[in-house]
């Protein structure tokens, strides 16, 4: 006698992921592909102006039309995806590193250091982040690099505060008490035992952070302290096309839609990861 099959027939097997989740994954994957390979496949006309063809409406040759320099709007968006996403990844990575360092030093150090660092974190949380970043970027001289550095040095307090809270919870776990009994030093206890077991909160947080960072970066570029006009960065593109909104709406609508879609896609990815980790959040 053979054992009964324990798998359901192929036709009734449901995917582990819902269609909506697959859609979000595909969207994020497309954006990443554009960012990685966009500049390699983009035609040369992206960089050269062609005044004879300026401000052409969307057509088969130019899907999203052309801008005031006659450059193809669609391909400039694809090229700009690299600048925008790379900068956003850099910003989130940098401030996460600062946040992790601050939280770990606070947790491992003496009480006065913990208090001091957490008060500094409170100050950072109480200030309007975008305005302070704007100040740093303006002071260093407006450029994409300045904006990235400015956002990295203003973005860390939320991460530090959150991680410090989680580390405090982790420190109450049995295995930490066990390590303490074995005589592990406080610094080693924090970096080797408590920190690795608290870090998954950052894995949940990063996707949503990319979404908001893309928005703030575009805003800084629009104000004029981020990427400067010839750059294909989306915020700078909108700033450059501002004057043409009534004659050639596509030059403004397309890059803004790119920012919105990217920000929404990464935000939704963050939500999906969060619900997958904690299904009780579903429906809220």
């Amino acid at each position: 006698m053979t054992a009964p099959a324990i798998t359901a027939p192929a036709s009734r097997r449901r995917s582990y992921y819902s269609p909506f989740e697959i859609f979000v994954f595909a969207l994020v994957a497309l954006l990443l592909l554009a960012a990685l390979f966009g500049p390699l496949v983009a035609p040369n006309s992206v960089y050269n102006s062609d005044i004879a063809n300026s401000l052409m409406p969307p057509s088969a040759a130019h899907w999203f039309g052309t801008d005031d320099q006659g450059r193809d709007v669609f391909w400039r968006l694809i090229v700009g995806a690299q600048t925008t996403l790379l900068s956003a990844f850099l910003v989130v990575t940098l401030y996460s590193l600062i946040g992790v360092t601050v939280a770990t030093v606070a947790a491992a150090g003496p009480r006065w250091l913990d208090e001091g660092l957490m008060r500094i974190t409170d100050i950072g949380l109480a200030l309007p982040g975008m305005i302070v970043a704007l100040g740093f970027a303006a002071a260093m001289g407006p450029s994409l690099q300045s904006a990235v550095i400015a956002m990295a040095i203003t973005g860390w307090p939320i991460t530090a505060r959150m991680l410090r809270g989680i580390m405090r919870q982790t420190m109450e776990a049995q295995f930490v008490a066990g390590a303490q009994v074995l005589g592990v030093s406080r610094w080693r206890l924090m970096t080797r035992h408590v920190l690795p077991n608290s870090l998954d909160v950052l894995i949940v947080k990063w996707a949503g952070d990319i979404g908001t960072t893309v928005l703030v970066l575009a805003s800084l570029s629009f104000i004029g302290v981020g990427a400067q006009p010839p750059s294909a960065e989306w915020g700078a593109t909108i700033a450059g096309a501002r004057g043409f909104v009534s004659t050639a709406w596509w030059t403004v609508v397309a890059p803004g839609a790119a920012v919105a879609i990217t920000s929404i896609a990464f935000g939704l990815l963050g939500d999906i990861i969060q619900v997958r980790r904690d299904p009780s959040l579903r429906g809220n």
């Binding site: 305005i131 704007l134 302290v225 803004g256 920000s263």
Partner: protein, 347 residues
């Protein structure tokens, strides 16, 4: 007596935190000044200043002294409300900003009104029919709006409503020749002071779209918070008891469920009031309105770095003070926070 002691204790702690934050902000701005490439005196005096003028600025700012003395001098100037001088208007930055602050506060006030007037009713209806069509549409709209860049939304709506459909004026704060005499600098308030009906309508007409755009981003947060909070309250036993007693859905929602779920919304709208002042920089300039955001935007464009940093100091301070005011108001409004303060004091 006890209540009085709790209040004063809370006030002392909260004021202390505010002072600490202002000091932190001042230190950050000082670091920004030190990060500027090139000669600081040259930057403060302007690109076409003479050598003698630059030397005079160097003398006045004490730039030959050690950094620690410069820092103390900087803090001293801030205490005397000296935020530096603009190289474009040649006026103290503070007096420039004071003139345009009322206009920004008016914009933020209207944005907050629209924010709450839209987000609270939609949040109630969405939570009441959780998973229904209205709920789904609102949630999708909230996700979409939350991801849109505010300045882009401003540009697109300005184009559609202002120049294609001509429902609202394209830009500015009042039509030519319509404005009431300037008293406060906030057009709507000025029109009310002058008892000028047409000017009032005109000013409101001009402020609606900018305020709605500013509100959009924040309304999605209020909507989500209220919806989640209401869903939690609607699951509790006392709601079932109220329904069993025969209360209508409307009465159950507005008289019982809503007051019990408004607390997180109040807290959030408090922080939002401060954040809105910062976000005004993205909206004011698109609609050519006066305000601290537009001032800052122009300062960036004209490379007037000291005016930018002065504005950072000013906006940061206003946000801190608004947050302080909101916290104190909450203490007066919500007995539960009073109780929490009482608890933390006895620990």
């Amino acid at each position: 007596m006890l209540a009085l002691r709790v209040y004063s204790w809370f006030l002392v702690r909260r004021l202390g935190l505010t002072l600490l934050t202002l000091w932190g902000l001042a230190t950050l701005v000082f670091i920004m000044i030190k990060m500027m490439p090139g000669d600081e005196a040259q930057m403060a005096a302007g690109a076409d200043a003479s050598a003698a003028q630059i030397e005079a600025v160097r003398e006045r700012l004490g730039l030959d002294a050690p950094v620690i003395l410069q820092y103390l001098g900087f803090l001293g100037r801030l205490l005397r409300l000296d935020l530096g001088t603009s190289i474009v208007t040649l006026q103290p930055v503070l007096s420039d900003l004071e003139k345009v602050l009322p206009s920004t506060l008016e914009l933020v006030f209207f944005a907050m009104l629209i924010n709450l007037a839209v987000a609270i009713p939609t949040g109630i209806v969405a939570a009441h029919r959780q998973g229904g069509i209205f709920d789904t549409i609102c949630r999708v709209a909230a996700v979409m709006l939350g991801g849109m860049p505010a300045f882009w939304l401003a540009l697109v709506l300005q184009y559609l409503l202002g120049s294609v459909w001509r429902v609202v004026p394209i830009s500015g704060q009042s039509s030519f020749g319509m404005a009431a005499p300037v008293v406060t600098g906030a057009p709507v308030v000025d029109a009310i002071i002058a008892l000028n009906g047409p000017a009032l309508l005109d000013a409101v007409h001009h402020i609606i779209l900018p305020a709605a755009v500013l509100a959009a981003l924040f309304a999605t947060q209020i909507f989500r918070t209220l919806r989640a909070s209401l869903l939690g309250v609607l699951r509790s036993d006392f709601i079932m008891a109220i329904r069993a007693k025969g209360a209508t859905a409307g009465r159950m929602l507005t008289r019982h469920a809503l007051p019990n779920s408004l607390n997180p919304v109040l807290t959030l709208s408090g922080t939002q009031a401060g954040a809105m002042i910062g976000s005004a920089v993205l909206v004011e300039t698109v609609f050519a309105r006066q305000g601290i955001g537009a001032y800052m935007f122009n300062a960036v464009a004209q490379k007037d770095t000291f005016a930018v940093l002065g504005s950072v100091m000013f906006i940061g301070s206003v946000v801190c003070l608004v947050n302080l005011a909101v916290d104190i108001m909450q203490l007066l409004v919500d007995p539960r926070i009073r109780a929490a303060q009482l608890g933390s004091q006895s620990q």
